[in-house]
């Protein structure tokens, strides 16, 4: 039975089991591979997407619980050619190395700034602590988020 989903503003129907993780639905059934598998355990944040604006680990999110909710992925952030301010800030700070954690980092950061447009460094660290960057670009990510926040003033 096809399950209706609202992904990046577009209605989609996917033929999948309701206990399948949203992560593989996005990646393998909808071709939205910007959201990454990192651990499948909700420990690394690489799979972070927004569910009605809140950051969730899509690897632990059963498809059935996402029905009727708005899913936003990294592919849905830019408005046409105009990048989201957080994406712009990541570019300016070069807040990545291999880039594999970047989608999840950006989605977590977007969620933070939606909730708290002017976070302190401590609040940034606290909010982002569930996202792992093995390349160790944390100081740059904090700087990028501060930069994006200052642009929002």
């Amino acid at each position: 039975m096809a399950i209706p989903l609202l992904v990046n503003g577009t209605e989609q129907r996917v033929d999948a089991s309701s206990d399948e993780a949203v992560l593989t639905v996005l990646r393998d059934r909808l071709g939205l591979t910007g959201t990454k598998y990192g651990c499948g355990e909700g420990q690394c944040g690489a799979c972070t997407v927004l569910l009605d604006g809140k950051p969730v680990r899509s690897c632990r999110l059963p498809l059935g619980t996402a029905i009727q909710k708005k899913i936003t992925t990294i592919e849905g952030l830019a408005q046409g050619d105009r990048l989201h301010p957080v994406q712009e800030a990541f570019l300016r700070a070069e807040a990545f190395q291999c880039g594999y954690c970047t989608s999840g980092m950006i989605m977590s950061a977007v969620a933070l700034l939606e909730k708290n447009p002017r976070p302190s460094s401590q609040e940034i660290v606290q909010h982002m602590n569930g996202n792992i960057c093995r390349c160790g670009t944390y100081p740059r990510i904090v700087a990028a988020i501060r930069d994006a926040a200052s642009g929002k003033r």
């Binding site: 910007g34 792992i132 960057c133």
Partner: protein, 724 residues
């Protein structure tokens, strides 16, 4: 000579350490006509190294008809009729940012904007053979080779322009992808010059480069060339590759290492719609139309295994010492002077044992592969540091000639030395062969933590002697199993006995960023601190007193100055530590400040690191590598360790294997010394080695507790010194 000659260099080749890369043959499989077909018209310049052609190095050889030549080609570069420059290199991009820094160097020498340079990397069918991306060799070797090719291409284009403009080549100027005759003010673009041509030149490895002091594009901070694709989620890593008709695979893993399959029942798995069970000897896997179903099917397999009793981690260090080579070969031994005599004459001696745990690379992109057979040819996409090594692994596994295997490496979600092997590709290819369609296999995090290899654990004995004036007189250093990289000492010590003892490792082990330099320099720099304490000398002063290497002195001094070394004294709640070293042509000096919390935990407050690796190619890229190395080093220094018992990994999850997070990150200040007068060395590894000893020394300065095991505080600070 590429590497700086240090006491280390007798040991430090990565091939020596790991069988993983010992079986390579130097080979180039593609016929010249094939790649000319691929790239079309224009001008192609190839760089040949290491054989007859280089005897006439410096000359441009007309017509590379000799197929033998191709055996030795290291890189090539193509200028197309539309002016696009494509560079072909077997190196891989794993986040160290060489797609940008190599492009900068080509753009510099070819006098074109960086935006017109494309790099085709790590595709066994399109790029020249390359041993692998490791050992910090890309910048010193491939960078130089690509500059050489670019210079030759520029000279060739100038020659051609001179012919077409009927003028003397020496009057012509190359800039911005064009050649201008200042006298007539005529300009001709590279693309126009190459129109209608299909020219090939093979040159020797004899650089005639722009002096680094004249660099404009190289030497300047340059954003990652394809950064946009990463912040928009558009970059396709291996797990993102999709092929027509592709299925998803899972492999049945044994419950323990060295287990033998004694019973398998796949009937429940086969009942699941669309599932195929594949068995070939000990290998068992499933394929299905989606990952979800493949996972369910793998869980439905019923298997029984037998496995031999195996060690637990608490027995590890005794095992390594007892199962080690004592009188190993000369290449593992460095002796100068007479240590025994010197110890007898020393005023102070120190005898200690240090240990290091196995740690996991845990790159965020797990091992993965997409494999596709078309008739007898196999194409594989995978994240690996050794595309040609993986090609060979696959050719052997499936008993097919290497030219029948194509390995393509998309820019990869990191490696840190952990992606030398092609296990996932062999598995995916076996499943794809059985399925008759392409198969994607992505290792789970648990598989990644279990079936990948680890940074070697080790035991290190150090005995040191010093005179009452604070001069080190004797140094005896034995490393059991962890490795020989960085095992030497940069200090002036007349009597040395330094030895690496290979040992039987209970876990599969291999390369790791910086190799054993992290362990060896942790021990050396901690022991230096212990000696300084015994002699009641300031740790920095003691080091400088025994050090003549001006490059190493410079980074120590730069770090100390920026840090404000000596401005404040350590107290029970706050400690300051210093450490440094040289490895793979990089010089590092690190100062750290730690806070001892009331709950007896350690918080790193501030790290200042000075780094020097010759002429800097991309300052912001280098800074990123140094910062990242410092952050990554925190894990191995303080809390990362692989726990195991009887063939099982006990903590194969991020929830139980702690890696550095945002909250572990101190204030980091980086000082980069740009030596434009020296060749560029690689910098992806060595900045990692300074942190652990600087932290250990800072903890000692605060508490008097000397921590001699990596990781140092997996469970917080001990109450007293942990003498092994």
């Amino acid at each position: 000579m590429i590497y700086m000659e240090t006491a280390n260099s007798v040991f430090d080749s990565e091939e020596q350490q790991h069988a993983a890369i010992q079986r390579l043959s130097y080979a180039f499989e593609l016929q010249r006509r094939d790649f000319l077909k691929v790239i079309g018209g224009g001008v192609l310049v190839c760089l040949a190294v290491k054989n007859a052609v280089t005897q006439e190095s410096g000359h441009i050889h007309h017509g590379a008809s000799d197929e033998d030549l191709l055996q030795s080609i290291a890189a090539w570069l193509h200028v197309s009729e539309d002016g696009t420059v494509t560079v072909f290199t077997g190196k891989v991009e794993v986040g160290q940012n060489i797609r940008t820094s190599l492009g900068q160097q080509v753009a510099e020498e070819l006098r074109v904007p960086l935006s017109s340079v494309q790099l085709t990397m790590a595709d066994t069918e399109l790029t020249p053979f390359d041993m692998g991306t490791f050992g910090s060799r890309t910048t010193p070797i491939m960078g130089r080779q690509l500059r050489t090719v670019a210079v030759a291409a520029r000279n060739l284009l100038i020659d051609m322009a001179a012919q077409q403009l009927h003028t003397d080549r020496n009057t012509l100027l190359a800039a911005y992808g064009k050649i201008t005759d200042p006298k007539s003010n005529r300009t001709i673009s590279y693309g126009e010059i190459t129109k209608g041509q299909q020219l090939t030149r093979v040159i020797g490895d004899d650089p005639a480069e722009t002096p680094t002091s004249n660099w404009h594009i190289a030497g300047a901070s340059t954003p990652k060339v394809d950064a946009h694709a990463f912040v928009t989620g558009q970059h396709k890593y291996t797990p993102d590759v999709v092929r027509p008709g592709m299925l998803y695979g899972k492999v049945l893993r044994p419950p323990a290492f060295h287990a033998k399959l004694v019973y398998l029942n796949g009937s429940d798995a086969k009942k699941i719609s669309g599932v195929k069970v594949v068995r070939d000897g000990e290998f068992v896997g499933v394929v299905a139309h989606d990952e979800y179903t493949a996972t369910k099917a793998a869980q439905a397999l019923r298997a029984k295994w037998d496995w031999p009793p195996q060690l637990r981690d608490s027995q590890l260090f005794d095992h390594l010492r007892s199962k080690s080579e004592q009188g190993s070969g000369e290449h593992n031994l460095h002796v100068t002077g007479d240590v025994q005599k010197a110890f007898a004459a020393a005023n102070k001696t120190l005898t200690k044992t240090y240990t290091v745990a196995y740690i996991a690379h845990s790159p965020l992109e797990p091992r993965a592969a997409v494999a596709e057979w078309s008739s007898d040819k196999l194409t594989v996409w995978t994240g690996t540091q050794r595309p040609f090594g993986v090609q060979e692994e696959l050719a052997e596994a499936f008993r097919i000639p290497k030219p029948k295997v194509r390995v393509i490496v998309p820019d990869t979600g990191a490696a840190y030395g952990g992606k030398h092997m092609g296990d996932a590709t062999v598995e995916a290819a076996r499943l794809a062969k059985a399925a008759g369609v392409p198969v994607k296999l992505i290792w789970t995090r648990e598989e990644e933590f279990t079936w990948a290899y680890f940074r070697p654990a080790g035991v290190i004995d150090i005995k040191a002697g010093a005179t009452s004036e604070g001069k080190i007189s004797a140094w005896e250093f034995h490393n059991y199993n962890s490795g020989p990289a960085g095992i030497g000492t940069p200090y002036e010590i007349p009597n040395q006995h330094i030895q690496f003892h290979p040992a039987d490792s209970p876990l599969r082990q291999g390369s790791y960023r910086g190799l054993a330099a992290t362990a060896n320099q942790f021990v050396r720099e901690s022991a230096m601190d212990e000696l300084a304490h015994e002699l009641a000398l300031d740790p920095l002063e003691f080091r400088l007193k025994n050090l003549t290497d001006t490059r190493l002195r410079a980074v120590f001094e730069a770090a100390a100055t920026k840090f404000g070394w000596g401005r404040e004294k350590s107290s029970p709640m706050r400690g300051f530590g210093v450490a440094g070293g040289v490895e793979k042509g990089g010089y590092v000096g690190t100062c750290a400040e730690v806070e001892i919390t009331t709950r007896r935990d350690v918080r790193i407050l501030r790290v200042v690191e000075a780094f020097e690796c010759g002429a800097i190619v991309n300052p912001n890229g280098l800074r990123n590598q140094i910062e990242g190395s410092i952050v990554q080093a925190i894990g191995g220094a303080l809390f990362e360790a692989v726990h195991f018992d009887n063939g099982r990994i006990l903590n194969p999850h991020f929830a139980r294997y702690r890696v550095p997070r945002f909250s572990d990150t101190p204030q980091i200040e980086v000082e980069m010394l740009d030596r434009k007068d020296l060749p560029s060395a690689g910098a992806g590894e060595t900045p990692i080695v300074g942190l652990a000893p600087a932290i250990g020394n800072a903890i000692f300065a605060a508490t008097g507790i000397r921590l001699r095991s990596l990781p140092m505080i997996p469970q917080g600070l001990p109450q007293s010194e942990n003498v092994p």
